[in-house]
Symmetry: C2
């Protein structure tokens, strides 16, 4: 009877995917599994850990283990195409229940040396500084994203971009005022497990990956004017892109 923990996890997984246990339901806990399967507590624990690590369940200390709920927020990279394009509002995942309100917290604006990679993407000379705008987004009380923008200090230092509130249209509006309107973008995405720091920053439950997005904005001249590094809770987001040709 080797592989007991996996066996128990398989059983529970089956009960979840069959619908016997639905999102929000309580999964049999450690003591229950000890009784039902006649295993040691650590083994029952390992079984539950497998589910948690797959993102299927969530532990609540002192209360129990529950089937995870998944109500994704759609992140639409190119809204314009999405709106007059085809397939708008269609989704494999039920992500239509969108437009929940963002709140911005922990906004920080400061000038500093850019990370090496950012300096390269912005084509900055040695020792050129950047204006950094960092913030967290919160939805329904839960932090879901951290975003950090980098802009060449020499271009934006004197503009409202260095203010906490850059005004109507946000920083892209102000860049437009400066004749540096972003018109093309590159986004690079990567998914991975979070570090402990990132995990607490986004209040992630175990078994939740993060999506790292690096967005570079270019002006009409083809000059990179902003790098935005985002870190998203993968359990909360669905990313959507519209492409042509």
């Amino acid at each position: 009877m080797a592989e007991t923990a996996r066996q128990i996890a398989d059983d529970l997984r089956a009960r979840i995917s069959s619908g016997e246990l639905t999102p929000g339901d309580r999964v049999p806990g450690e003591p229950a599994l000890v009784r039902e399967y006649g295993v040691a507590k650590e083994t029952a624990r390992r079984a539950l850990t497998l589910l948690v690590d797959e993102g299927l369940a969530v532990r609540r200390r002192g209360s129990g283990t529950y089937v995870r709920e998944f109500r994704p927020i759609p992140r639409v990279a190119n809204k314009r195409l999405a709106e007059d394009g085809w397939g708008a509002g269609k989704s494999i995942w039920d992500a239509d229940l969108g437009d929940r309100q963002y709140t911005v917290t922990d906004l920080q604006v400061y000038e500093s040396e850019p990370p090496r990679q950012v300096a390269k993407l912005l084509e900055l000379d040695e020792s050129e500084l950047v204006v950094v705008r960092s913030r967290r987004y919160v939805v329904e009380g839960e932090p879901v994203q951290r975003a950090t923008s980098y802009l060449p200090a020499r271009d934006v230092r004197e503009s409202p971009i260095t203010q906490e509130n850059p005004g109507e249209g946000g920083i892209y509006g102000r860049l437009a005022d400066l004749g540096l309107k972003p018109v093309r973008f590159t986004e690079e995405l990567r998914a991975r497990m979070p570090s402990q720091e990132e995990s607490s920053l986004l209040a992630l439950s175990a078994g939740t990956p993060v999506v790292e997005i690096c967005r570079v904005a270019f002006t009409a001249n083809g000059r990179p004017i902003e790098v935005n590094q985002m870190l998203l809770d993968a359990g909360v987001y669905v990313m959507r892109y519209h492409l042509e040709s």
Copy 2:
């Protein structure tokens, strides 16, 4: 001295990010940690498990635990824009070492009922069938992606799309022959932990998320003509998108 496992993991993590341990290096193993920290084997094990679950380390049974290597393959969604656009070849992650060769394995072509979600995306009537093309991609001997295409059977049943090799230009070429050339696409991405099945399908090491991509192709008439569901090893891919306006 509570939280011992996390403490040990923190130490090791620090040694990795400081560069003392570099990708490919051997991490101190369970017996070593038992000696160095004077903890039980299970505790040392838990410490290593934390690193593995973060994707920082890989276990090799009978050999040791090693710092993971990350050499991403770039997946460029819209090549045309990428090529004449700006920012081509720029990347935060060292993903330029691309163009490693794909091999296609386990190609299967068959006709069947579509999954409910796929039927909805393809706007199929009740009981309409789809042609399914499923395959795995292998790079340097390692499976990295599974892709499953669904096309309305009534449109493509008589075409070479039902052949294993649909000929020059692939299935998009044949769709063009049929006057059903795809010109717009929607891609929806989501990252999550894999199920056990998916994990073995892609030979994933523990702590590696997957990226699920659902791509819908539309003809010039705005008709959905293909749904492609992909499952990528997140430890291997970087997704890149180019956007305008």
